[in-house]
Amino acid sequence: MIGIKVVGVLAAFLTLPLLVGQLEHKAMAHMQGRLGPMYAGGFHGWAQLVADGVKFLQKEAVIPAAADAQVFRLAPAAALIPYLLVLVVIPLGPGTVAENLDAGLFFALAVTGLGVIGMLMAAWASANKYSLLGGLRGAAQLLAYELPLVLAAASVAMAAGTLSLVGIVEAWNPWWLLWQAPAMVIFFVAGMAEIRRPPFDMPLADSELVFGYLTEYGGLRFAFMLLAEYVGIVVVCALTTVLFLGGWRGPFLSEELGPLWTILKIFALSFVVIWARVAYPRLREDQLQRLAWQGLVPIALGQLVLTGVVVVAVSGQ
């Protein structure tokens, strides 16, 4: 039984990010009036990411002379593995969850935050000023956006009265879509900032920092860093789905088609992530901080108060 679960999580870990990546290739291309990859694999370039993977595999693994080799080597793993661990607690359907933790939400948020350590390791160990600047920006971004992220998640946890992700989905009601709407937006935006997706890619900022903390990376290590970003998209979208969109609950056949609904919602949200990347320019560092501290945090606190009042009012009768 445990074997099936491990294989399932690993399969999701290896396929979903690639599907999101391919979706990004094609959706972004068409949003820009292009076709995107058309040759790899024959049909609309479906094998482009496989070809990219093979290419990355063949490249030389370069470690800069001044770099801290040990940390430099470990950083991609440190960036990737936390997201793999988060996938363990995300319920796909009723009863379809690798590990139903009582404090699943707490676990997910804590481990997602760990992913940033990989970025900091990469930034510091590269011995490159651009990497370091990228890492510092990333750390500042994490500090700013972790707060609204946790506050928004806390709002849902209060509403559901549980920290278990399965429990939250079971307690979910369609009218939460309205009640928890601000929290949902905040969670999604903060999540996007957490995984440093454009328009929140100030730590990468290729026009000013070369490629931020990834500047010195190449070959397979770079591929892993990139994969971490796409697994990050899947994780953030999955968490938003589970917390705010009712997870496996659909308009019909929620019991039978549960996993399908979850996957569908994850991909719809992934599309929004890609959409935002195409539509919006990168936020400047000060704009980034202002959005978090003057926009998201106060709204999240307001949402928390609203949730508290409603929960007390409903249960206090």
Partner: protein, 158 residues
């Protein structure tokens, strides 16, 4: 729409979505031949029969990319005891397309209509030295030149 707060954000999303729903303008070039306008200026072709080796093209060429070699041949006199006639024979006519800047001056100055714009454009090479194309290749391109446009009927009247 922009008066509302966040209206600009919504409009940004709408623009990308509208582009997504439209057909792209991409031409899949090696698979589909591009639709070139008639009389496209792709390459310069040579009609060897018209060339008199007057060298005007080679002299007028701003970057000296035309190479011409020739010799004179004596023609037997038409009548018995007459003077021999001399005739220019073209040995080599080559254009170095790595130098050519496609100004078309050679075509304009040719007094005998020996040079033409041809629509061919697929003549890239792996080595820059192979970009010098000789007269047999230039003659092939001349065959792809479209016929000249019909006379404008109003042109004669005016």
């Amino acid at each position: 729409m922009t008066d509302l707060p966040g209206g600009g954000l919504a409009r940004g999303l709408l623009i990308t979505l509208r582009t997504l729903s439209r057909r792209t303008g991409t031409q899949q070039y090696p698979d589909a031949a591009p639709a070139l306008p008639p009389r496209s200026r792709g390459v310069i072709g040579l009609l060897e029969e018209n060339c008199t080796v007057c060298m005007l093209c080679a002299r007028e060429c701003p970057d000296w990319c035309i190479y011409i070699d020739s010799h004179k041949e004596a023609q037997a006199p038409v009548v018995e005891g007459g003077r021999e006639r001399q005739r220019n024979v073209l040995d080599r006519f080559a254009i170095d397309f790595s130098l050519c800047m496609y100004c078309g001056i050679c075509i304009d100055v040719c007094p005998f209509d020996a040079l033409f714009w041809a629509p061919e454009f697929e003549y890239s090479e792996y080595d820059i030295r192979e970009m010098t194309h000789e007269k047999d290749r230039l003659a092939e391109w001349t065959r792809t030149v479209p016929p000249p446009p019909a006379h404008d009927p109003n042109g004669a009247a005016g």
